[in-house]
């Protein structure tokens, strides 16, 4: 058996220090570390990793450029497939995608593709590497993109590079969708997001803020002005547990909690006007990345104790392994095999306890995970704040105001394989179509739909 060198670990700030602020936790590779990690790549001719990348980055080739210290070439190569590498390098679940298919897994640890992507992107941002964004062709075609999150960013940049006129509509006051309201500063600094978004502006994309499509402008009115409309409005509509006491004070949806912190900067209150309740004993319900983000944010707001309450076990948690480890290192306490059944108030309208039903794991369900089954035993947890991170449904505003756009029973917009909705010239992708995916899955959708729109417009003319 061939002996391979171990993976070069990404340096991180120590937990005691990092939970006192919202600054980034991981520090990125130094050049030396990047070169060392890149040298582990086997340069497989069949490139299995590329099949795991929803936007099809030629991974072995960019790693080869790193080995040769041709960072600018590496950057240009990545950027040709992924318009926001500094973001995907940080938030992609590589262990479930490209790295999962890495040949090195059979010999030891896979190559750290995400860390290398981030190294290249951060290097380019530091050097101020500028890629001539203008397409050398100009095509007739006006495209409206609804939502400036990951899906919208890819559709917008792909079509702008093909020479179309693109307008990106965002309802909030900052572009980026979940990248600005959802993912916390300590995982994805907002200056990185702003830099990556500025590339869209360099591409000539118009960004219109404060426009809620379906309300400010209807889809019908958009179709009068645009040849194609892409809906990437996301799955930002929170789900509820539908148990007693759910509207008690200081029970937040993860979206509200994270939006107050990330988008509204409530962690800097009173410098910023938006307040947030700083709970001392906080329970976060759910086991996904959003739950990890919320739990770690609650710690940083000064909580003494943060529980993550999950109805299965650690093994079934949908969160990225790295994020679970980060949360564990920071002192988040996990309570497994419990399901909230009631929130109990203090008498003044604030939450003071959660009643939890103990669960056991049963047969595998349709998601391939063991089904949690309630026992008859309950326990109680003393809390002064709760964050519900059980999940989201697609945003309902466009389907509600546009009956021609059909949705399934979960409220997801129905599309064909190439992203066409049931309404002519209207396309959709990302979480509003798949439910709850990752940033890169939404981007993968964006890539497909951009090609579809390009084809449909070209054949029409």
């Amino acid at each position: 058996m061939v002996k391979v060198k171990p993976r070069v670990l990404m340096p991180k700030r120590n937990p005691i220090e990092r939970i006192r602020d919202f600054n980034e936790v991981t520090l990125g590779y130094s050049e030396k570390e990047a070169l060392e990690e890149a040298s582990r790549c086997l340069q497989c001719p069949n490139k299995p990793c590329v099949y795991g990348c929803p936007v099809g980055i030629d991974i072995p080739r960019f790693i080869k450029f790193i080995k040769e210290r041709k960072y600018e070439e590496a950057y240009k190569l990545i950027k040709s497939c992924c318009p926001i590498p500094a973001i995907t390098g940080r938030v992609c679940p590589q262990e479930k995608q490209c790295e999962k298919l890495c040949t090195l897994i059979r010999l030891g640890e896979p190559i750290a593709i995400g860390a290398l992507e981030r190294f290249v992107a951060d290097w380019a941002q530091e050097q101020g590497i500028f890629i001539e964004p203008k397409s050398n062709v100009s095509r007739n075609g006006e495209i409206a993109i609804v939502g400036s999150g990951p899906a919208g960013i890819v559709v917008a940049s792909d079509l702008a590079r093909l020479g179309y006129n693109v307008t990106l509509f965002e309802a909030l006051h900052e572009p980026g969708g979940v990248l600005v309201y959802g993912i916390p500063e300590f995982r994805l600094p907002k200056r990185i997001v702003r830099k990556e978004i500025s590339y869209l502006i360099e591409l000539g994309i118009n960004i219109e803020l404060g426009v809620l499509i379906g309300k400010t402008i209807s889809i019908y009115d958009l179709l009068d002005e645009f040849d194609a409309v892409f809906i990437g409005a996301g799955a930002g509509h929170p789900r509820f547990l539908e148990i007693p006491g759910e509207n008690l004070n200081y029970i937040y949806t993860a979206n509200e909690f994270l939006t107050r912190i990330n988008l509204m900067k409530a962690y800097l209150f009173p410098k910023y006007d938006t307040p947030i309740y700083r709970g001392r004993y906080v329970a976060v319900i759910g086991g996904g990345n959003t739950a990890m983000d919320a739990a770690r944010s609650a710690l940083r707001l000064g909580a003494e104790k943060v529980y993550v309450v999950y109805r299965r076990t650690r093994k079934e948690m949908p969160a990225r392994e790295d994020e679970i480890i980060n949360a564990e290192e920071e002192g988040v306490e996990f309570v497994f095999l419990v399901q909230p059944v009631e929130f109990i108030g203090s008498g003044e309208g604030s939450v003071s306890k959660i009643k939890l039903m103990k669960m056991i794991l049963g047969e595998l369900d349709e998601t391939g995970r063991p089904k949690p089954i309630p026992t008859n035993e309950t326990i109680e947890l003393q809390v002064d704040s709760v964050i519900n991170a059980i999940g989201f449904n697609p945003n309902p505003i466009i389907p509600l105001t546009t009956p021609e756009i059909k949705t399934d029973r979960k409220g997801r917009i129905i599309v064909d394989k190439e992203g066409r909705t049931t309404m002519l010239n209207v396309y959709a992708g990302g979480d509003i179509v798949i439910g709850e995916g990752t940033v890169i899955e939404a981007m993968g959708w964006g890539r497909i739909v951009a090609q579809t729109i390009h084809r449909d417009i070209s054949t029409k003319k």
Binding site: P238, E242, Y252, P270, D273
Partner: protein
């Protein structure tokens, strides 16, 4: 290339009562499609909160919208400090489901405090389609009573109350409502727009006399687009979002006590923020 931000410029600003301002904002996209009962989310500056303000009037061809607000907290005070010619950082809308306007017959519109202005477009639209509009408006005292003439112009009957009796009936709008119902008035519908406690009491009265009622709710709100759930209320036992399912709900089924508690959620923070803001303004003036 620059970020294309809509202008959101203040065209006119008037003080219509002590600490109550009326403001016209250039927002052509919103003005073009606004309907009675809808609102906008405003951020005064990049440090600001996102606050909902009900649309009071608008002009699609001239491209402006009108809001009326009381300067009670940091956000509304900051907004009040801006002058015509200056621009607001962010305005988004029109949000919420418009009021269902139809010919119902006789309707009652109750407006309280600064929200009389918010009741005005609803009363106006109801009048325009041929309803008999009976309006009840009330304020703490006579110089805080706003939009009296405007409400007069769209009402068949107008009743006025002030808490101290300095104008009209001495007492609350709810007293007038109860009186009218007690004397046999049976409107097809009652609209109520005002302080939550006023709406709760009016709703109890409507229930007592078995009259249908609609309340325009004013919970704490953040996103305004169905994403965060800050504005959730319980109506008929179900969680509803005021931003995209409201702001109007069946008043008789609103969980008023819960809403009243939710409105107090940030009392301490609001007071702290206000104290710091006023201190800063006194030292350096606004923008200092």
């Amino acid at each position: 290339m620059k970020l294309l931000n809509a202008k959101w410029q203040i065209l006119r600003k008037h003080s219509i009562a002590p600490n109550i301002k009326e403001m016209d904002i250039y927002a052509p996209k919103i003005a073009k499609v606004a309907r009675p009962g809808q609102f906008v989310i405003v951020m005064v500056d990049e440090y600001g909160e996102r606050i909902p303000l009900t649309l009071v009037d608008w002009n699609g061809s001239e491209g402006w919208i009108r809001v009326v607000f009381a300067e009670v907290g940091v956000s509304t005070m900051k907004l009040g400090f801006l002058d015509s010619g200056e621009s607001i950082y962010y305005v988004s809308g029109p949000l919420g489901v418009p009021t269902h306007i139809d010919k119902f017959g006789t309707v009652v519109v109750v407006g309280g405090g600064v929200a009389i202005a918010a009741a005005y477009p609803i009363a106006k639209a109801l009048k325009e389609v041929g309803n008999k509009v009976i309006s009840i408006i009330g304020a703490k005292t006579s110089n805080l009573l706003i939009y009296e003439e405007k409400m007069q112009s769209v009402s068949d009957e107008l009743y006025i109350s002030t808490d101290d009796g300095s104008r009209g009936y001495r007492g609350f709008t709810s007293h007038i409502l109860e009186n009218l119902l007690e004397n046999g008035l049976r409107p097809s519908l009652i609209w109520m727009v005002g302080p939550t406690i006023m709406m709760k009491i009016c709703s109890d009265i409507a229930k007592k006399y078995n009259v249908k009622a609609i309340a325009s709710l004013n919970p704490i709100m953040v996103c305004g687009m169905g994403m965060c759930g800050a504005c959730r209320v319980k109506v008929a036992g179900k969680i509803r979002f005021t931003c995209f399912e409201g702001p109007e709900f069946d008043a008789l089924n609103v969980d008023w006590d819960e809403l009243l508690l939710r409105l107090k959620m940030y009392k301490e923070e609001e007071q702290l923020s206000l104290k710091l803001f006023l201190g800063k303004v006194m030292r350096n003036g606004y923008n200092g």
